[in-house]
């Protein structure tokens, strides 16, 4: 009721704008870009923009799944460990079979399998997803070393494998194309399909969703599998980027992804969030990272600044929601 009448009556346009979280984030992004380019004109060079986009794509691919998970009021901390393992598996299968596509399939399926296991633990055993995925993170970190102690190199030097990350489709790098497809797909699913609306419903109020005939367990399981598949895909691209399956890759990557999603305005308590926000969150964090490098600041600030930004974003979100509730 109040939501409908408020804009019509007397809310000043500036505040209405400030209450729209993607627009605030977009404004922040624009200011950041201007500030960085004043400090260093090479920010706008084609190479730099492509580098930023390539870095964004890895985070965005998993971030799309993580957004759905957080909207469904779950979380997955095992994505960093799964990312590394999927890359190792993809590289190994590619080496064994000399077939890049089999490697690609194995990497993605491995990620999906991890997602399935996570989902089953959360929905069947009813283990809180934070704990469940901390545990699977430990299991993956341990077992990836049991699988291979060293990085698995691209023995056959198949060019198709490296093309996954360094290739171009026209002027656009392949990972960016993949990320764009993933983004568009998940965007449509979340916004325009019944399944997407159900995810919001389950995350906002699980009990109400169940009473209206939804099957929250099945939906949650599916979202875990989707996140897993996307993690596998991202792990594959990372392995291609390094031209090797590196067991230690992806440490702490889960936190980067979650930070970007939260920065994009998705709520940890479920039921609220958009993929557009996640996209902006991912780009903002990567622009900050990039800016720190090309302005010649200490690289360690790459941890400090995002930490501050996440908390700040969460606080602004809170203030906005309280203003809205009033």
């Amino acid at each position: 009721m109040s939501e409908i009448t408020q804009p019509v009556t007397s809310t000043p346009p500036v505040r209405r704008l400030a209450e729209n979280s993607p627009i605030v984030l977009f404004g922040l992004l624009v200011i950041l870009c201007i500030a960085i380019s004043i400090g260093s004109p090479q920010f706008y060079s084609v190479e730099n923009i492509i580098a930023i986009l390539r870095q964004c794509s890895l985070v965005l691919i998993i971030g799309a799944g993580m957004t759905m998970l957080l909207i469904a009021a779950e979380v997955d901390l095992s994505v960093g460990a799964s990312l590394a393992f999927a890359g190792v598996v993809a590289m190994d299968v590619t080496n064994q079979t000399s077939n890049v596509w089999l490697g690609v399939g194995a990497g993605i399926l491995f990620g999906g399998f991890v997602g399935l296991v996570n989902g089953l633990i959360v929905t069947r055993l009813k283990v809180n997803s934070l704990i469940a995925t901390i545990a699977t993170m430990m299991i993956l970190q341990g077992s990836v070393f049991l699988y291979s102690r060293q990085a698995i190199q691209n023995h056959n030097q198949l060019p198709a494998f490296t093309a996954l990350s360094t290739g171009y489709l026209g002027p656009v790098p392949v990972p960016v194309v993949i990320a764009a497809i993933v983004f568009a797909g998940t965007f449509v699913v979340l916004r325009h399909t019944v399944f997407g609306r159900y995810i919001y419903a389950v995350g906002a109020n699980r009990q109400a969703a169940r009473l209206s005939g939804l099957k929250p367990e099945r939906l949650t399981l599916l979202v875990f599998v989707i996140t897993g598949l996307l993690t596998g895909l991202s792990g594959l691209i990372l392995a291609s980027l390094m031209n090797a399956g590196q067991p230690t890759a992806g440490r702490g990557f889960e936190l980067t992804v979650i930070a970007a999603v939260i920065l994009g305005g998705t709520s940890l308590s479920g039921g609220r969030g958009t993929l557009l926000g996640t996209l902006l969150g991912v780009v903002t964090l990567q622009v900050i990272n990039n800016g720190i490098i090309i302005l010649g600041w200490d690289q360690e600030l790459q941890m400090v600044v995002p930490g501050v930004v996440i908390v700040l974003a969460a606080y602004l979100d809170l203030v906005r929601r309280r203003a809205g509730a009033r």
């Binding site: 430990m138 299991i139 070393f145 600030l301 501050v308």
Partner: protein, 332 residues
């Protein structure tokens, strides 16, 4: 009339408490049983497991996670969480070692370390309890900021302890009568103190009330924000103490110290029967959770299994234990 009402509510809370206590007891009995079985198994499987030397070693190693676990346990019971403890445990070593390197005493260094912990706890607590930001986000943020701060200050290198005070070495590595490690004594003292606080002091009962249902606690006249704020301080100070002992064991301020410590501690706390939803759990359970994980990893090491197996089994046991616990809870 008012008298009888108060008597009946007194009885109600009493019987409810009895019920809760007996429930906890059952949960802890299971954990204790697991621990005994675990120790018995490893004693049979490996000759060098059940020796005074090895058992005291494990207790020494477990004490760091136990000290931090007490703080995190209190905080999770209050319905909040702190994942910045690993970074903080690494960070407190910097003021400690730097103060000593500049000729300060060990006491002064410890004071500096605890002051840093207090500051971090106050910031976390202010943002989460008073401003109301989700504590997972707040402490995730401070985890980044603190670790980044460590890297900035140290340039990603360890700061060695140049003064080499004997007392600094002793607090982490010394043993009472040559057997019981000092960190284990610190952990035991803190455990007893905080168990007493949680079970027998009004403040402890308030923490359970706040975590169980903040709205009811508020209506009952408790200052929910202040109680939560204090729990963040407790968690940070205990992580600080763990960090001081860790740096004594490492003999320096190591920039990667405490990486992943938060996951280990949260896992042990939840294994000990503390619910992430808040209001449920006991510190005795937390202690058992920490001991189970510590003896497990030590025992697997004794069996000459690769260290990676320890991670895998630990993860699997956490899932099994928490899943079993949930199943039991749903049956009742």
């Amino acid at each position: 009339m008012p008298q009888s009402a108060s008597v009946s509510t007194f009885r109600d809370t009493n019987s409810a408490r009895d019920l809760l206590v007996s429930l906890f007891r059952r949960n802890e009995t299971v954990l204790l049983l697991c621990l005994v079985v675990l120790i018995a198994y490893f004693s049979f499987a490996s000759g060098s497991f059940f020796t005074v030397r090895n058992i005291t070693n494990v207790l020494g190693q477990a004490s760091l996670a136990m000290i931090a676990g007490i703080g995190v346990g209190v905080l999770i019971i209050a319905g909040e969480i702190d994942v910045s403890i690993g970074s903080l445990a690494g960070a407190v070593a910097i003021p400690l070692v730097v103060i000593m390197n500049h000729g300060g005493s060990l006491e002064l260094g410890i004071a500096g370390a605890l002051a840093l912990a207090l500051l971090v706890g106050a910031i976390n607590g202010y943002l989460a309890a008073y401003l109301g930001i989700n504590s997972l986000i707040v402490t995730l943020g401070s985890m980044f900021v603190i670790r980044g701060g460590i890297y900035l200050y140290t340039g990603q290198k360890a700061i060695p302890d140049k003064q080499g005070l004997e007392s600094f070495y002793q607090i982490g590595n010394g043993r009472l009568f040559g057997t019981v490690p000092y960190p284990a004594l610190v952990a035991l003292a803190l455990l007893i103190g905080f168990m007493y606080l949680m079970r027998h002091r009004p403040f402890g009962r308030k923490i359970y009330a706040v975590g169980g249902n903040p709205e009811v606690a508020r209506l009952a006249g408790f200052n929910v924000k202040r109680i939560k704020f204090l729990c963040f301080i407790i968690s940070a100070l205990l992580a600080g103490i763990a960090g001081i002992l860790l740096s004594s064991r490492l003999g320096s301020a190591v920039h990667v110290a405490g990486l992943g410590f938060e996951f280990q501690v949260v896992a042990a706390v939840v294994l000990g029967g503390v619910s992430l939803a808040g209001g449920v759990g006991s510190l005795f359970g937390v202690a058992l959770g920490v001991l189970i994980l510590s003896f497990l990893s030590n025992g697997l090491g004794m069996l000459n299994l690769a260290t990676e197996w320890q991670l895998v089994t630990t993860g699997a046991i956490i899932i099994a234990a928490v899943g079993f616990d949930e199943m039991k809870r749903r049956r009742q």
